[in-house]
């Protein structure tokens, strides 16, 4: 079958987008990562220099990459990101499962308002919402005030500027990315299959665990990746809500670029992050292909 020219033209669009906004920047990062930092414009050295012999010589170095391996700070940042992103993903999954299920099972007229309630926070700036959490979490903030008023605690909890605050903030920020794909799969479940489960003696709880949840697995996986990937690179939340222990890749990256002005190391770090994130994406694609074979 011949592909119409129009379709081929449209297919070029994402390809063009990818080239300009992904491949090209990656090439630039790679180039910068092989240079050395310097206090000039641009803040990195040239890769090729005209030698005295009159020939172009390669002047690149793996210094920045060696840094990444030798300095434990970066390893800690990577581990910090992995830990926080994993915990955030788990938190989102645990919160989103009952919420998405409840929305999908709600009467038709309720679903749109409920979904809107999930999406609505996006209409405000991300930054402002994270700032709002400072107001909630700080020692004299709303949460502590409420807990102290009820007499549950006598001293304010020091949540702000800790990993707990980062976790709360990131879970809050990424929850909708988990709810939406889960809702989509839950609402597409075959009503007959759920009723058949009940008919065969399954309690609503058993139906959820044995039928709804296994069948919603693609949605859960998509949600996990949609949360995990941006959470890995998260910079704003640990910067605003975190403390000294909240050292993550995003923070490290920002420090290298802007505080240390070490562009080569920052570039190498950015590329490392990209590679780390490619692994779960590849996993997703493989699982999706398997699912297509099944259904």
């Amino acid at each position: 079958m011949k592909t119409p020219a129009f379709v081929r033209g449209v297919a070029l669009l994402p390809l063009g987008w990818m080239s300009v906004f992904l491949l090209l920047p990656v090439a630039i990062l790679l180039r910068v990562s092989l240079a050395e930092p310097r206090f000039e414009q641009p803040p990195y050295t040239d890769l090729f220099a005209l030698a005295e012999s009159g020939r172009w010589a390669f002047e690149g170095t793996l210094q920045a990459w060696r840094w990444l391996l030798e300095d434990p700070t970066y390893r800690d940042a990577l581990l910090g990101s992995l830990t926080m992103a994993s915990l955030t993903t788990m938190g989102c999954l645990l919160l989103a499962l009952p919420m998405a299920w409840a929305i999908a099972r709600a009467p038709m007229s309720w679903r749109t308002p409920l979904l809107l309630a999930v999406i609505l926070p996006f209409w405000t700036s991300f930054l402002i919402r994270v700032y709002a959490w400072i107001g909630l979490l700080k020692p004299e903030g709303l949460i502590n005030a409420a807990l102290m008023a009820t007499g549950l605690i006598e001293q304010p909890l020091l949540i702000l500027h800790s990993n707990a605050a980062v976790l709360i903030g990131m879970t809050y920020a990424y929850l909708p990315f988990m709810i939406l794909p889960l809702y989509a799969t839950f609402s597409r479940l075959d009503e007959d299959q759920l009723q058949a489960a009940a008919d065969l003696g399954a309690t609503p709880w058993q139906t959820f665990w044995r039928i709804s949840l296994p069948l919603a697995w693609p949605g859960a996986l998509a949600g996990c990746l949609l949360v995990f990937i941006p959470a890995m690179g998260e910079f704003v939340v640990p910067d605003l809500l975190g403390g000294p222990e909240s050292y993550m890749l995003g923070t490290a990256l920002w420090n290298e670029f802007f505080r240390n002005a070490d562009w080569p190391t920052a570039s190498a770090l950015a590329l490392t992050m990209l590679v780390v994130l490619l692994a779960p994406l590849a996993l997703l694609q493989r699982l999706q292909r398997r699912d297509e074979v099944v259904s």
């Binding site: 075959d190 058949a196 489960a197 008919d199 003696g201 309690t203 058993q206 044995r210 099944v294």
Partner: protein
């Protein structure tokens, strides 16, 4: 209604409304132990809603469902001793055939060995042994149908509910599957309520048929009762072709001009009715043969149907009549014949 000791499943005054419309309207049906009852009717007649009410998937607005004397109306579906085979089969796509069949048994907390034994039994019953480890999407329509049936039967349901069990199959497969289904139902001997819109399915599978119309039971009876003694014209027309002739009241009885037939006033119906005769109840009379009733007819067409021959006849008053007969019958178009029928072949229908 007295409590018939043979009654196993009792549907008592069940009404289910959707908004203003009563999908099921005060239906009473008693089903005997081991009997197969068929709910027959067009889509929207309430038959599926009634079936789902028995399963507990619909809550009735009023009425009760009793199984072996026990009121199950308030029980949720997972606690009812009934199992249903869904029209879509509703097989679990992420489970093998074996796991699908075992699902209901696992909910009963049976021992692992007991479950395996029962599943094997069901696989054998439905001739699915070779397919036990396949997933539903790897099966043909007929195979899926058998898995759904085996899954519904696995738990020894006290009442088996079948929602259009053959509707999802193509025509050729349907007839063979129908025979298989009838054989399995007979072997298992389970009390069964079956919903269908296909009258042939109803006639072949049911011990009794309840014809439903607009949420009510229009007639209930054995297949031959429904076929031979339809309560009204609509029920009669459900099952194949019918010769219908107007009749008027005369001298306290009914007179049918087309057939030249006068009937005693066995009925106290209004002054007009319809006389119905099935095409296969009519016979062409040879010279010396005689029948309860006879009428002269002109052969217009003669159609050979293979297993039978259909004659299109014109009666003296211009009405047409169909006659189904032996394929060897000779009755050339253009000839006049004498057609006879027995008194009990004639049905007087209202409406």
């Amino acid at each position: 209604m007295g409590a018939d000791p043979a009654t196993f499943l009792r549907i008592e005054g069940i009404t289910r409304r959707f908004g203003q419309v009563a999908a099921v309207d005060a239906v009473d049906i008693d089903v005997a132990r081991g009997e197969t009852l068929c709910l027959l009717g067009p889509s929207g007649c309430g038959k599926s809603t009634l079936l789902r009410t028995i399963a507990g998937l619909e809550a009735p607005d009023s009425g009760r469902i009793l199984i072996d004397g026990e009121d199950v109306t308030a029980l949720p579906p997972h606690r009812r001793p009934v199992n249903m085979m869904f029209q879509s089969y509703a097989l679990f796509p992420h489970m093998s055939v074996r796991r699908n069949i075992a699902f209901g048994l696992e909910r009963q907390r049976l021992a692992r060995a007991a479950i395996a034994e029962r599943v094997d039994e069901m696989l054998a019953l439905a001739s699915l042994e070779a397919l036990a480890d396949r997933r539903p999407h790897q099966l043909s329509g007929g195979q899926r149908q058998r898995v759904a049936l085996a899954r519904a039967l696995a738990r020894h349901p006290r009442v088996l509910l079948l929602d259009e069990p053959l509707a999802a199959l193509d025509r050729q497969l349907r007839e063979r599957t129908r025979t298989e289904l009838a054989a399995i139902l007979e072997r298992v001997g389970v009390t069964c309520v079956l919903v269908t819109h296909d009258q042939e399915e109803a006639l072949t599978l049911a011990d009794r048929i309840a014809v439903m119309r607009q949420g009510r039971v229009a007639q209930i009876g054995t297949p031959s009762e429904i076929y031979d003694e339809p309560a009204d014209r609509a029920v009669a027309e459900l099952f194949g072709t019918l010769n219908l002739f107007p009749a008027t009241a005369r001298n306290g009885g009914l007179h049918c001009a087309s057939l030249g037939l006068s009937l005693a006033a066995g009925t106290d119906h209004a002054d007009a009715a319809t006389v119905a005769i099935r095409p296969e109840r009519l016979r062409i009379l040879a010279g010396d043969e005689h029948c309860d009733h006879e009428v002269q007819a002109h052969v217009e067409r003669n159609e050979f149907l293979g297993a039978a021959r259909l004659l299109l006849l014109r009666l003296p008053d211009g009405a047409t009549m169909r006659l189904l007969t032996d394929p060897r019958t000779r009755a050339e178009p253009g000839n006049d014949v004498r057609v006879g029928f027995d008194a009990h072949a004639v049905r007087v229908l209202t409406q």
